[in-house]
């Protein structure tokens, strides 16, 4: 649900800056989906930080907002149409992708959920007590502590706050699974890099 809501927020932002149709028109469905998702993830992370600093980051605030963002997909706006077209094109592109790429994608996609529900829980679980009291305090303590923590300077608080909200509305598992979705968004962006480099090389060789 959080990923769908993030995509909804990202589409809204793209529409506001007038970039939705331009990016979709570039025929990079992977990148369009990843852009919408990541933009929403980042903007929501920043929003949660501000809300947490005011001590209001509770389910009463987060759940309705995420619900509204999810419902935006029901409004058949041009951005949603672009998203639907991108989803269809992504499936077509995956079918047309080289066999090697498909093998790599499938062979690494399938074990990830299994690893998530088995490996991480047993071997990689680092319980974060700081988030336990999040709901009662509105996460204000976490936001303030995270802001002054030296290690967070290069990364900001987007990840921390996303984690806190996922813990709030879901569970530890939901919070840990967000990296799984982000990995695919990174992969889609890298495919976009490859496409752009490919077209740049083609452009140079044709000159």
């Amino acid at each position: 649900m959080y990923s769908v809501a993030s995509t909804g927020a990202g589409l809204l932002l793209l529409r506001v800056v007038g970039a939705s149709s331009l990016i979709a028109a570039r025929k990079s469905p992977f990148v369009f989906l990843a852009t919408a998702f990541l933009l929403g993830l980042g903007s929501l992370g920043q929003l949660w930080t501000l809300v947490a600093l005011s001590g209001q980051l509770t389910r009463i605030v987060t759940v309705p907002l995420l619900g509204l963002l999810t419902i935006t997909h029901c409004c058949w706006t041009p951005a949603q149409i672009d998203l639907a077209v991108s989803l269809r094109n992504t499936l077509d592109e995956l079918r047309r992708a080289p066999l090697g790429l498909r093998v790599v994608l499938v062979s690494h996609s399938l074990p990830l959920p299994i690893l998530h529900f088995t490996g991480p829980r047993v071997f990689w679980r680092f319980p974060c007590a700081a988030y336990d009291g999040c709901e009662s305090s509105g996460c204000v303590g976490i936001a303030r502590t995270a802001l002054v923590q030296a290690g967070n300077e290069p990364y900001g608080l987007i990840g921390e706050m996303t984690y806190a909200v996922l813990m709030q509305i879901g569970s530890d598992d939901a919070a840990q699974m967000v990296t799984w979705v982000v990995l695919f968004a990174i992969a889609a962006t890298l495919v976009g890099y490859a496409r752009r480099s490919e077209s740049a090389c083609a452009g140079k060789s044709s000159r």
């Binding site: 903007s43 920043q46 996303t162 982000v182 990174i186 077209s199």
Partner: protein, 63 residues
């Protein structure tokens, strides 16, 4: 991409739920929109706006 999803240096962090990957993905997305065109013409304004959003209000490292 193959090296990304076959590297234990990445997969372990994915399994562990390392949320710093979120900032990394935003930085990568920002740079994508700043890749120059083959003919080195001006980037569209939409590209710069989206890159700016990724680099500023919506994320990326602050320092």
């Amino acid at each position: 991409m193959t090296s990304l999803i076959t590297s234990t240096a990445v997969l372990i962090w994915v399994g562990e739920g390392k949320i710093d990957l979120i900032s990394t993905s935003l930085a990568l997305a920002s740079l994508y929109f700043l890749i120059p065109r083959a003919d080195l013409s001006r980037l569209p304004a939409a590209n710069l706006m989206v890159a700016g959003l990724f680099a500023g209000p919506c994320g990326w490292p602050r320092s």
